[in-house]
Every structure is written in C-alpha cells, then in structure tokens.
Symmetry: D3
Subunit: 323 residues, 6 copies
C-alpha cells in the first residue's frame, strides 16, 4: 500500500525549513577556503575508441585541494565552445566508464561527470576517487554519517564543495562555453545539483531529479529505506546525539538551498518512491525560489521518469542552453 | 548460498542435446514461408534532436508478414556504408526510445534494434509492436507458453523469424554495409542472437550474453526465477502435457542452434546468475561449433559484465567488423 | 500495518464514478453484436465417475462467436428443472476439473462454470479456452492490459460478454430452470458477477465476493499487488497513455455496473485485503442500486470469508432461488 | 534453486531407519490401553441443507478416552453399506465444515473426517477438539514438541491413537461397510495415514500424500520450513536434549511404519517440496513393505498433485474398494 | 513507511477502555483462590561458579498451586536484606541461565526471575516450567489463544497469577528486603509488570518497557506481527467467536490495569515498533493512574531503548529503592 | 534448505591456505612499527553505579599511535591481580556500555573490551573510536574494503594491531595478572582473537567463536550474506582487481593465523550459519596448530551456542586461567 500524501496535498505542502542562522556564512566560508587551493584542472585525453566524442580523464582540486576525478566528453566536430552539462551521481555510484555518459554528447553538448569521493564501490558504477578525510567517529555503513557531528567535518560539505568546483573546472576547458553550464543529477545527484544551483548563481539551468537530502528529518521519520535509513540507524545507536545530528544536517538540507536558488529548474518525482518519498521532493520543489517545473510520474518509484524524462530534460536543456 | 556447479565443472559440462529429427527442416520451412512475404523495410526519419546519428523509425515484415518495429541509428558523417549491430532485447522489454541505443553509433557503427512483438510493457523499455497471432490456449502470464503445444504456433518461432528478417532488413538500408553485420543481445536477446547465428550463416560475429532458452528442461528443474519459472508454472497446471511442452521447446533450445553455428561468438556468464544459471550458459557455449570466447564474471548475477563487458564487446566487434 | 480506511468510513465511502457518456450504448452494442452469433450451446456428457451429478463438458459461442468452454453439473435425481448457479473464476484460473465444483450440486442446484478465455495456466485451476483475439500492442504479463487502448479491443469486453452468454447458455439446458439463475464469483469472478448483474436484469441473485475491477484508478494508486499492479506497470511504461487507459477502463469499472444493478446481491469483503482493498469493495457495494447485503470479515484478506461465507451464500441462495 | 536429490537418486534412496527395539511393544501397549476406553462413537445428525449426503457430527473416544470430534458424510440413496474413506488433516487444520468434505461422497463413498486434537486454529480449517493433555514442559509454538521428551507423553502418540480409533469408529456406523475402509491424508494427514496403515492391518488401501513425519532427523537437517523447523527451534534451545528428542521421534517416524505396512498404498510427492522434502517422502515410499505406487509431480511443491491427484486417488480407491 | 500516529497525537491518545463490570471481582477471586495453595517457595543453591552473586534455583506455587521455576540471584557480601527486582520475560522465552541475569545484582540488588509457564522453547532463552493446564480447544500456535473463550481458562490468568505469587515468593527469602520490591519486564514482561503493578499495591516501582497486551483489539486491527497476529489468525478461523474472544481479553488488557495502578512507573516506547505499536503503548501510559515517566525512542523498534534504557532504569530504581 | 557440507566432511576439511611468502615479515614489521608509539594506556575511573566491579574508561595507543577506547571492568574485592579476558567485538558493533560486559567479572575475572575503530554505529552496541586513517579509494559500505588494495593500507591491519596492543594495555593495569590473559570474541571478534592467538604467543587461551575472516575467498563464493558479501560487491565493481583484493586478504586470512597458533583454543560453530559458513569455520579449526576443542551447534546459525556456550567458555577459562 502506498501511504505518502495524495497529489493535491503534495502540491501544497510547504513545511517549515530547519535553517541555521549561519547557513550562508557557513557556505561562504567553506567555498572561500576551498578556492584557496589551486583548481588545477587537468584534462588528459583518454583512449576510448569512441568516434563521436573526445574523452578526457579529468582531475581537479576539490574540497581541501583533494584530487577529484571526472570524465569530460566533448562532442567531436563542434564549431566553437559548446554548452556543458555537469552531472552528479546517485548514492553509492562513481563515474563509471566513459560509455556510461553518451547521452548529452549525443545532443551536441559536452558532459562533465564528477566522481563522488569515496563512493563508487556500492555495486554499480565504479568510482576512482578517494575521500582523503577520515571519519571522525564510528560510522554507519555508507557515507551518510561520516563526520555527522560537526558541519565542518560532514562528508557532504566536501562533496558539495567538490561539486561547485566541478562547475569551475568544466568552465576551464577551452571546448566548453563557460556561460552555458547546466547541472544535473538524480537522487544524491539531484541533492548535489540542488545545492549547486544555490551556490553557483550563474548557471543556465538545473535538472533536479528525485532529489535526496531534502526535508531530511521528516524523511527519517517516514521511510525505512536506505540511504535515509542510515541516519535512522545512527540515531538509534547514538540516542543522545540526535539533535546534534540534525543540526549538522540543517546545513545540508535541500530545502535551504531551494529557498536560495534562482536558476531555472526542472524537477521530477515518482509518486511511488520510498527512497526519496514524494513529500520530501515536493517540499524542496515548493520551496524552490527560482523558475521551476515539476514532472510527476504517478506510477514510478525512485527510478523516476526514466528515458522519457531524459527526453523532457533534453528539451528543457535546449531551451535553457539556447542550443 | 550459491549452488550451481563450480567453475571447473562448468567448463567441461556438455549435456546431451534434446534435438528433434526435423529441426533443420522445421527452420527451413519456417524461414521459407516468412520470406514469401515482401520484406518491405521502411525507414522513416525520426526527429530526435540527436546530433551524432540519424534516427529512423523502422517497419518491416517479420513472421507472417506482420509489421515489426525497430529503430535504426546511423552515425552521422560516415563515409560510405558502415557496419551494423543488430540488437535483440531481453524479456519483457521493447525497443524503448532512440536515446537508449547510443552505444554502438558512438563507436561509428549503425545499430538496428528489433522490437519484440507483444513485449515492451513489462516495466522497463516500452515496445511498439503487437503480436497479431492470438494464443492457442490458456497462457501463463508472459510469452513463454504462448502456443507452446505446437512448434508451429509457438511464440518464439515468430520472434526468431522476426530476428532473421531484422538482419535482412538492416542489410537493405543504403548506409549499412550488408557484409558487416553483427548480432547481439543479452538474456532473451542472447537467445535470439544465438538462434540467428545458426540461421544466418554470413554474419561477422555474434555477441551472446547470459543467454536464455538454453538447456531449457534442466533450467526449469533447477531455478525458480522467471522467465524459466513460467514454464514450470505451466507444467504444474498441465501435468499431462509436460512432454509435449518440452518437445516443442526442443525446436527452440539454444543448444541445438549452438551446435549449428559457425560465426565467431563472444559469450558471457555471471556465476551468481539465478535467471539463466551458469550451467545452462556453459552448456550452450560448450556446444557452440563456431570460434568462441567466454567471459566469466564470478561476482555477477544476471546483469552479467555490465559496461565492462560492453567494452569487451566493442573490442571484439572492432576485430570482427574490421573497423 | 494495515492502512486502508477504518470500517465506519468504509461504510460511508461513496466516491465519484468515472462514467463515460456512452456506457450503456457501448454495452448494448457489444451484446447485440455478440448475439448475432448462434449461441450453439453443446452439452457433451463427461465421464466423471461421480455418482451425485451428471457432468457435461460445455461449449458455447461467446464474444465473437468464439468457442467458450465450461462445465455443467446437474444433481442427479432431481424432479424437474433445478435452479442453476453460474460461476465465474478468479484471475489466472480456469474451469479446472469437475470435482472442483461439487458445492452447489451438493445443495441440489446445478452449477455452470464458465472457463475464462486465455486464462487457466496461472498456477492453479487449469483452463481449456483460448482467447482467439490477439493483443493489439505490447502487453504486461497477464490479461489486464490486453487491448487496453480501446474499449472495443479490451480483453474484459470479451470476458464480460462471454459471461452474459454463459447465463444464456445455462438457460438452454433442459435440466436447468431458466427463471432461477444466480451468478457468483470471487475477485475477478466477483467483477464478472457484478457486471452480469447489471447486464442481465432477470437474475435471481448475485454473489459478489471481494470483487476486482471496482474503483480501478483508486486501486492502482493505493495497492502494489497484482492484478491491479499490472495496470500500474503498464502506466509506468506508457506514461503518455495513462488517460487513455483509464478511459477504456471506465467502461469496465464495477462502480458503473453497480449503479445499474437491480438484482439482490450478497457482497463480501476482507478488511485485510491488499489485492482488492476494502475501499474499492465498499465503493462498489455502496453504489450498488439493488437490494444488497454485505458480510464483513475483519481478520481476513483476499481469501474473504472462506467456507463460512460459502454457508452464508448457500442460505442467501436458498432464499433467492426459492429452493 | 532446488537442491534435493535428482529423481533417479530419489528412486533408489533407502536410508537406515532409526528403529527403537521396543517399537512394536510401544504401539501394542498404546493401542491396548486406548481400547480399554469404550469407543462410544456417537453420530448426531447435523443439519447441513445438503441434498447429496447425510451429515453426522461425530464424537468418539480417542486416546485416553478423550472426546474426539469428526464429521461423517454418507451419500444419500445408497443401497446397503458403502465403503468409507477415513480422512486425516494437515498440520494446523481442523475438521472445518461439512461442505469441505464433499469429494468422496460425490463418488458414492462415505467420508469420515477426524478432527486433530488441539489443532484447527492455525489459519485455515477450524477444529473443534481440545487436547486435554497438557504439555509436559516448554513448548515451541505448534504441537511438534508437545511432550517430546517421552514417547508416552508425545502429542503424536495421542493423535495416531485417535486415528486408529477413528477407523474403529467409522466401522461402527451402520451405513459404512467395515470391510471396505481406506485411509487418506496429505502432509500431517499423510503421516497419520501411513501410521494407521501399519497399525490397522485390514484396510482396503491407504492414500499417503506428501507425508510429513518421515526420516525426521534428516528433514530437520535440510529444511528450514515449518513444521519440521519447530523441532529445529526446540533443539536449538535445548541443546542438551537433542538425542532424547530424536529417540522419542523414532517411535513416530514414518519409515518405521512403512516397513511394517502391508496395505496397498498410493503415494505422491512434489519434487519442489520444501516442507516435506522429496528425499524424506521417497525414503518412506522406498521402505514401504506393502504394494505401492508413487505419483511424482515434478513441478509441484507441498501442494502435491492437487485435483489431478485427487482423480488418481479416486481411480485407485475404485480399484481397491471394489466400487 | 511508518504509519502509526505522530508523536504529538500519541501523547494525547486516550482511547476508551474495554472494562468488564466484574474486572476487580475477577482478579480478587483469582488471587484469593491462588493463595489457598501454600506458596512453598524453595530456594535451592545452584552451583554457578559466579563469584558476585549466590544463585538459587527457585520453585514456588503459582496459579493452581503449580510448580513455577525461577532464579534468584543475591549479590554477595551485602549487609542485611537488599532490594529485589522481580523480572518477567518476553513472549516465547524462559528463565534461561543464571548468567542471563547479572544486570541488577551488579548494582547491588537481588533479581528474581520468574519462568513463564509453558514458554521458553521459542528459539531464545530456555524455560523449565510446564503449564499443567491443557488447552480448552484448538489453539493457534503460541499461547495467546490458549483457553481464550473463558477468562477463567485463559492462559494469562495463570501467568499473571504466577507473577503476583512471584513477588510474594521473593519476599520470603531472608536476603530480600520485602519492603523494597520492584517489578520489571519488556513486551510480554512489560504486560505482566503492568498487571502486577495494579494487583500488588505495595511495590516500590514498576519498569514497564514496550508493553504487550495493551489496547488489544486496536492492536489486532493495525499490526500483522506476532504475537498480536496470533489473535488475528484465531479470529479469522473462529469468525463467530470474535466478541467472545475480546470479552475474555478485556480482563487482561493493560489499559484496565493501568487505570488501577498507583506505583511509580517508568515506561518506554519505540516509535518504529510494529510488534507493540506506539499507539498501544501510549494508550497504556496515558491511562496509567500512578506517577509515571515515559522514555521515547524515536528510531527504535520493539527492542526499545536497549542498554541505554537499562541505565535509565537503573537510575529510576536507585531513586525508588532508596539504594 | 541448508547446503554446506555434512558434518563428517566438515570435520575432515583441510583446504589449501593462501599464504603469501612474507606473511610473517609483514606482521613483524607491522607490530614493530606500532610498538614505536608509546602504549600510553590510561585508565580513567568511570562512574557506573555498579557495585560488583570498578569500571575504567580506557584509552591506549593502537596502530599508528591512534587513540583506541575500551572498557576495563575489575571485579571488586579481589585479592591481588586477577586474570583478564580481552574481548573483541563483532562486525558493526562498538564497546557499548559497561553494563554490556558483566559476564567475566561475575566469575571473578577482569574484562578488557576493545572498541573497534570506526565501527559501533551499525545499529547495535555503540562505539567511541574513530579510524583516523582515511580510505584509499572507493569503498563498499562497511569496512571490509577500506584500503583493500594494499596490505599496508587495509583496515584489518590496523584493527588486528589495535588488538595486539589491547593485550599489552590490559597487562599494564595493576589489578590484572599479566600472565593470565585470555582473548575472546565471536564472528569478527573471533577473527581478531584468532589473529591475536598467533601474534601474541604467551596467552592463557583463546575463545574463538564462529570466526569471520577465515577461508575468505571460498566464503565469498558460497555465501551472499554480509559482511563477506561486501567483498563480493566490491569484486563485482572492480572486476579487474579481484586477484589484488585476494592477495591483500591473504595477509589477514584466519587460516594462516591458525597454522601459527599455539595457545589452547575453544572454537564454536553453528551448522546453519550462513554468515560464517561451517566450512570456513572448520577450515580454521582444522588448520589450528595449538591444542583445540570444537563445540558444534547443529541447530544454530551465526548466533552460535549462546549462553550455553558462554558456560562452556567459563569452564574452559577456569581450567586455562587456573582460577
């Protein structure tokens, strides 16, 4: 049985946001510190046998100056710089292989895929980037609770910072038009795209699919599916630190980024989604301050709208990228 | 716990084949009849917004002259006809959308995707082709038992015939080099590719991944996973027709096609595969009469070797297609 | 945890019905066409070794004049024509064996069991009737989506028509009193009995147990169990055809038949039923226009009231059949 | 994956039997004691509205003289005494309602259904008989471990004794031909029928379907399904009493009854049965000393051969009962 | 998805209590009868090799004068009588081994563990006490339905009486201070502690963790987990006796004991508890008439607050026991 | 169905060990380096309200000089130093609370519990120790693959080293008799105890219960349960690094430690254990070079012998510790 709110309630759902007073200061400080490291984006040609795109194995300095990997695929034969979609990855996955990223180049745009530090061994697309920061305490399997007792130490501080820097890195490649950058991702990738849409104001658009890390405390109260369940497991063990955990998470909750975003965004939601339940996705969408559209998939779960939604995204990108 | 044979036994496993005396006659007659219908392959340009390939919405006459749908993607900017990979689809899926088939065009080859008649509403890639033959009796959900009481009426007679005709249709397009055709598929798609490798001798190569429909009776005795389980359900209900069912299936068992194939083939198997158990895949590989290679994925299930295997396939294709 | 409405809300639940303007015209036309075919009911004595009833293997012309199978069991030793219960079968089952239908003859009534075309290989009671109409497109396993894009092509148009003709066939047998016919069924059988109760006005009564095909769109939104889930899977794949699907289904929704029925009916519902959730069953009951009783089984699921309910049905039949 | 032995090994499987030296003495003593109580079979006409059979609500003295309930259905209109099938019930069920037992009367034979003391509240057919003996210690839910530390106290001593007395009770009814009694049952019912076939030599035949309580220790080592799993749970808790438990069970193991039986028997087995795994059923069949036939259902589980097997049983009964 | 009420509604939830008119008379009569039997508490020194406590194997007369087992652990080296915690056990468990009860002696208090008659073979801690009363009818596996048709025969009448007598037995040991007795238990143990808190007025305090047997009918309507599900299974079978069952249970519902309790109590609840759902636990707490505290564990299920809650209990005990 | 080897084969099972040539050198070097850091064991009295033991919150320098937490409980009132059991914890758990460790002090022995670095947030006992080494690449959730590409970086190098240092730390406390130290643990704790039994020769004994990390490659081939499954997931993703992974693991495989151990050991195994399958446990036991005993629990899974085995351990300890 499906038990989240019915669609009409979802469309109107606007819960209170858990916003810390120094939210903006925190992120200003975080990005300022990160930018002290030389971005140092290196694009090494990668032999792929592909005929439609040039592939580059990318390394650049993310949070803490750490080496972050990525792939850049540039469509062959373009005249002048092309728009670029910066793609973020779902929970547990990594950058995979270049052939996993043929979609946007097939439309004539570059794609820059950011590897997720420390992820990419969860069973699907492989990763190639370590997270050189150790945990600061016991950790529930997965990265949700890595450093969760202090916003400064929390894993997602590093990951979101890497993501901002990924946009900056993409902009340095001569084949990329720095004025036409989109960000995109589903689930954790959607959470990242949402955060970046607030932290990097001059984006062309954001594709935010079934985003994770939104309305987090509510999510932990209604779903028993991972990765939100990692937080629940942690709070079960550390009964005395629950408030501390959610204080940290308030610096990373998509609702707060949504309220600060101004770039045009295309959201999607599956009404049968138990991983990122519809009420958490609508909460983000409804708080989103920029121009926005929502695609509702009533008979889908966390997979969202699949290839049909990719076609929606392509049309949205075409309009936003002027291409 | 995993319980199929250990790898060294799998490599040596060569079970008896259930071959009917008129196997070759049956297929000669079947294909001869099908070819009486005008192939009538029509390639209608399909607006896709893709910049790397021209997309054609294909219709051609399959078994019984029925209209079979497909997609043809031809890489743009090729000089002269290009090799073409004819791709067959796994159980329950359909041809989906053109953006689902960007892989081989990205290497410079055309791809011709055959829709599976009556399939494509199973939850993943959509189909657009009806199976205009009705069932000939009660049917276990799915197509495994459609017409299973008579080889002439059996669903897979039509599907395999469509597949042979798909190769013929691909060859009629001016952008395709008819001398350099490969067939490819996983699971049901692998079963089809295996059958076509025997029925169409002049192929460049066959990519047969975790093939279904091999060593069928054995499969129904050891696994309880679909789609083999559809046969078990049927036999549970029709206790008096079990031999009849397996007589029909002997005309479609991959072991018999394997013993007749001469084209170079690349197989793959996942040792944790409960859908097409390793012993059924090795039985097909070990009986395969043509040049063959096997890639073993010890920690994979029915998903097989994923993108890593796609790269293996690309290398194999490059060698076989001379491209 | 059980999550459908509590009992007091269920008793008052009267949702809007999705009624197409030409509902009555559609069914008039459908039945008129069907009746152009000669009913041709043939009752072949079937050797069963039973001593209490004569068994007939029945064939008659259903929708399209197609040959529909059935069993007729007539209690031995009756003086004059007896009342007859026309029984419809649940999803996936078929007419089974004559010994599966001893209940009503043991009370002195004939039973006429209609086979469900194309069903009867789903793992339980076998069927013996083909559905000679092919699908008109890709089909989710099962029959729920066979021809779902056009009311004229939809599987249940044929099945419901077969069911009306089954009553007519039963009435032709000399041992059956045509003025004392009841219809009965559970789940899909209940859906059929409900439809027939509206389409055949002169029935003695209808036994409608845990009926399927009621308040269909709502059902697909709240349950993830088959067979309603087949519709959800289909709508997931064909995202652009959801309205079309539910338009077709509005010609078959039990709520619309309920509003047209005048025969005395005995309903049943299990409050723990996840297959035909209580709110869908009460919606049908509450809209039912004829005399009606409801038996509520608070601790049962889709199995409903089991043999205890069969005894309730026997008492209800005795009163209605004057026997 | 299915992992019990393949069929050819099953057919030859003849494991050692765990036979206590005083097995025969134990059962002689047990039955002698039981027979000291007046059988006192009372047959009270039960209003059922059935027209094909007279129904009697039966009470007789079982083990310890305890009142055991049953149903007797006698076909109406028979000339002279009729054969009678004494039916035993599967685990957790009770005698249910008279309408649950129409099968054998429909063939012209009486049926005598023995209620299982203390069972009949397990979710399916209700029971009406208490087990007036308390447990002799802690008990795993279910009856498998009730009194398991002493053969004299063990639940199945009482149940098997009730079953022998049920045959004696059936023979006292004037409508029953005492010389033509069959015993029948599936699962626990099969275990009882097997035991009675050894303890009551002058039976016409025994129908022993997917019997439970055979090769018990082996069963507890290979299956994790109930009811054998109840023994495993008990042995997990009482680690120091495992040998004691299996010593008690050796007085009740079907293998020992099989070796003593002389009545013609029809066995059945489902090769996918995880409740009474095939090797335990074949062990009983292969040790069976009387004339025997086995029906193998390769694609069935514990449900065995269903109505198709009931027809096999009817034919076997007709031959054995001379009716 | 978690679907019981949100916390603020839980805190205010005060459902009607199902109180029979003779509730107090029933328990007065019950205890008066029990006390006619000599308590006869025997404390046999048990060799345990423990150095911190003396262990006694206890036997005393419970309900009906039946021999009930227990353990008494008395901390070594105490000067004068010590407070004692009487501990009751969760469903299916027994008194286990002395080393299972080291917690309270490690704080300097004695612990008296009452074995649960007939339980202790459910897979975890073993029991050593039989329930010498037989069932009075068919019984769903487990003890929930043993004698459920008459309050006088119901299993929990005996168990609760044993529990009252356990307090009395503990008070007879010279090392125990009879004026400082606490009762404690989780789940079924919590149900018992709650009942005893009402039946034995002069207790120092009660520790009532995730109590079972509270708001019973509601529980059977919302959860499908055992042991409440045993009642649902029973009511499914005995459809005509549902009211009878709940009448019996009204004599044992924790809500009625709560309304009569005056001893200081510490409750606990897990908001993800599907076994004793939060609304049933809060119903008991909110009706509790004595001084009370509640510890809420938002991310725990039926395991409740684990060792962290044990520390809460220790602090609560220290205050209540003046130790 | 249970499918590992039968008991007689298990007792004789002696598979080849995967031993790297520099196994001893690796561990010599590792421990030598660790010992360059000052052990610095600090024992801070911890207010626990316990009356039977003094509790110390322990910190000492483990691998890399990292601060490792632990608890020391010393029985009160002992005359002179007492023996001490050093306890290691199962996968995902941490040192929990002092009240979790009352068992050995209750027998008069001290217990020293080592926290597992980075673990203790997996849902059960909490941990308080960070692992200050970051991962060296993508990591499957859990610690099994942290640094798995190089023996020097592998998580278990640090954990095993911490464990050796824990023995050394325990020996520094004045209340502990350094000549009478036992090591103990189950599952991961058993793996650690086994390793320490080889690396610290002068132990009184080792209690190795259902040990993990034994015959590792075989384990990953037969079980799909965590934590071995973490390795399988990793190898599925990193198909090209499988040999590298198992080379690293050969430095940590319990079989190699077993072959080097000389201290008396008590093993235990559950024959239904799917987490550490019996064949992996027997492989370790059969290779164990020191005096050894094995307790087999035929009806237990990974929980092993529970409190009954704790009593076996207590007796074994008494003999070994001369206490």
């Amino acid at each position: 049985m499906f038990v989240d709110m019915p669609l009409d309630q979802l469309r109107a759902y606007l819960p209170e946001r858990p916003e810390p007073a120094d939210f903006d200061a925190f992120w200003d400080r975080t990005l300022t510190e990160a930018r002290k490291h030389d971005l140092g984006a290196v694009f090494t040609p990668h032999p792929s046998a592909l005929t439609v795109a040039d592939v580059y194995d990318v390394t650049y300095a993310g949070y803490g100056g750490h080496a972050i990997k990525g792939w850049l695929l540039v469509p062959r034969g373009a005249e002048g710089p092309v728009p670029c979609v910066v793609e973020y990855i779902g929970y547990g996955g990594g950058r995979g292989l270049p052939i996993d990223w043929l979609l946007w180049p097939s439309f004539g745009w570059a794609v820059f895929v950011m590897d997720s530090r420390g992820q990419g061994a969860g069973g699907w697309r492989r990763g190639d980037t370590a997270d050189p920061e150790p945990g600061t305490g016991p950790q529930t399997p997965g990265v949700m609770t890595k450093g969760v007792h202090d916003p400064d130490d929390y894993y997602y501080r590093r990951l979101y910072t890497d993501a901002v820097r990924a946009v900056e890195a993409a902009r340095t490649h001569p084949a990329v038009d720095p004025g036409r950058i989109a960000v995109s991702g589903g689930s954790q990738g959607g959470a990242i795209a949402l955060a970046v849409s607030a932290l990097v104001p001059d984006l062309a658009c954001a594709l935010i699919s079934v985003p994770f890390m939104c309305h987090i405390r509510h999510a932990t109260q209604i779903t028993d599916e991972n990765p939100y369940a990692e937080l629940a497991v942690y709070c079960r063990v550390f009964k005395d630190r629950v408030e501390e955990v959610f204080t940290t998470l308030s610096y990373f909750d998509g609702l707060n980024f949504a309220a600060r975003s101004a770039v045009p965004a295309l959201f999607s939601v599956g009404l049968r989604d138990g991983v990122t339940p519809p009420s958490t996705v609508f909460a983000a969408h409804n708080h989103y301050a920029g121009p926005k559209e929502m695609r509702v998939y009533p008979y889908n779960g966390h997979e969202g709208g699949e290839s049909a939604h990719a076609m929606e995204q392509a049309a949205f990108l075409r309009a936003a990228l002027g291409a």
